[in-house]
Symmetry: C2
Subunit: 336 residues, 2 copies
């Protein structure tokens, strides 16, 4: 049996959902993957760097009871005291710099701790460095949860499409934008649609990250960086958001059979990867036309499948993102 000490850097919606999956799948992990675990470190905005080397009671953590025998003065002491084998990183971060997650992940890998993150920032801003760091220390850096929750894109390419070359990509990567357009088609104004996205926990209080195309740009940058060996920053993405879209125009476009979509693209042009997020009207026969609400879609054109392979994640939520992290953890344990 493989025993893993798990540390949670961040314990918000996704962190808690992950703890729930771990509980729910405990028997499966033991029986199918020969894998036992306990949570030895957790962070709380209010209480700080908490450590329990015997393992926290997960049920109590989930009800907000963070009673712990020890606290650490900072990140390094916390990670060492929790004797973590895997760190789950879901801290809040600055998408422009990837900090402070980038520093934490770097330090964890150097301390010999595998890292599973749900943050796109470190992938975009530190992919090559972190990948090499992980390889040098014989550890893993995994980030399945960062793009298209529920659709295992990175492990798909790593594990199931070996030796295939990604030629181009087209899809819908920002759930909030797609939900807003869908809500407008169904009669809401732009502002009402934004509010709906916020009410169901999809959009932030400040929704500009989503509606100005930054979230989609960061995801495109992560795909180009990790899957096309083409380091790309969000700033390099040719970006247009959906801000100011007129509800009447959106409804008419859908009725006329040419609905609006916020379409993300990666293309190889003259040896370079060109990334774009654009508001487009597409025909109803386009498979993207049927991707409604918070669902997302990705079509990958490959040298081995020239017309492409599409993945659609239907209405994913925080529990879906958390499952992506569980899958990363299991795959790390399998290859350890």
């Amino acid at each position: 049996v493989n025993h893993f000490n798990l540390s949670f850097l961040g314990f918000g919606n996704v962190g808690r959902a992950l703890a729930r999956w771990l509980q729910e799948k405990r028997a499966t992990l033991r029986d199918q993957y020969d894998l036992e675990w306990r949570i030895t470190g957790v962070t709380s905005r209010r209480l700080g760097w908490l450590v329990n080397s015997d393992g926290f009671d997960v049920g109590r953590l989930l009800t907000g009871n963070f009673d712990s025998p020890a606290t650490a003065p900072g990140f390094h002491e916390w990670l060492a005291a929790s004797r973590a084998n895997v760190m789950f990183e879901t801290s809040s971060l600055d998408p422009q710099t990837g900090q402070p997650a980038l520093d934490y992940i770097r330090a964890a890998l150097k301390a010999g701790v595998n890292v599973v993150t749900a943050n796109k920032g470190p992938v975009v801003h530190g992919y090559r460095e972190l990948r090499e760091l992980a390889a040098n220390y014989g550890k893993h850096f995994r980030f399945e949860a960062t793009v298209m929750g529920g659709a295992p894109i990175f492990s798909l390419f790593r594990e199931t499409l070996p030796a295939a070359n990604l030629i181009s990509f087209r899809g819908l990567l920002n759930s909030t934008s797609n939900l807003i357009i869908t809500e407008m088609e169904e009669g809401r104004t732009f502002d009402e649609a934004v509010k709906k996205a916020q009410d169901i926990g999809l959009a932030e209080t400040d929704p500009s990250n989503d509606i100005d195309g930054w979230d989609a740009s960061v995801k495109l940058a992560a795909l180009a960086t990790a899957l096309m060996e083409s380091p790309t920053t969000p700033q390099q993405v040719d970006r247009a958001g959906i801000r100011g879209l007129d509800a009447e125009q959106v409804r008419r476009a859908r009725a006329d059979g040419h609905p609006f979509k916020s379409v993300c693209r990666l293309e190889r042009i003259e040896g370079r990867v060109v990334a774009s997020v654009r508001l487009e009207q597409i025909p109803l026969t386009d498979p993207l036309a049927s991707i409604r609400g918070a669902s997302s879609s990705a079509r990958f054109v490959l040298d081995t499948l020239p017309d492409g392979l599409t993945l659609i994640s239907h209405n994913p939520g925080p529990a879906t993102t958390a499952y992506d992290m569980l899958a990363d953890f299991i795959n790390i344990a399998k290859s350890d």
Copy 2:
């Protein structure tokens, strides 16, 4: 470097396309996967069981030049003389029994040879036995090419969706039926549409396997058997084909926004997996409505993603099926 001797049982469209991929990806396999290979055994309907322990010249094989230093009197001698590490099985077979492929695969595994097959028969008729045989001999039995060419379904569940439970499935699994319906929507008669499917090499001379729903039923049985731990035979599938579909009715249905589709389903009902292939009219908002021509689609509802994950393979061909076999081979080599 890992050296692999490869034997091809069957060298038709798919076998030749696989040999082409192996050639084209030779440098990638060496550089990225530390993997060298040669083809030491190949079968020809005309010339029999051919062996070349130094490795055949692949270019000459592909132009139909099967000159070989040795021939074997039968399967067992052929496999032994070719000192195969992996056997690629693409022989023609009886879908009702899985023979003779089933016997060949069984013998190969017992002889310590990994097997990659494109035949559904052995999966449906021998899955548990072959899986256990492979495990007992420390070898692999892989069959990614059998269902939905281009969409890596089996490795998706094995590698990228660990600990997830498949609750239900809905999709389009028979390319020929979908192409025939699409062609009828665009003005052809049923017979003309069948002929088109035959002309592009999709349908057999006797198309009844496809249009009576047997091909889809075998694929559903393979999915239920391998992914839901529910051994299922094609005969157990509630099956209705598309034979006799009226072209005018098909066109009117598409124009009215309720196109016909041959919909495949797996559902858990009272602890049992129920499989069906049915001709249905679906709304245009259904993502399946946009799956046209030879494309296929699969939506998996999981406990970890309750609204489902969809995969679409767009217009796959023999080279796609061959790539699925290449991917199986690479994954075997990685885990060897």
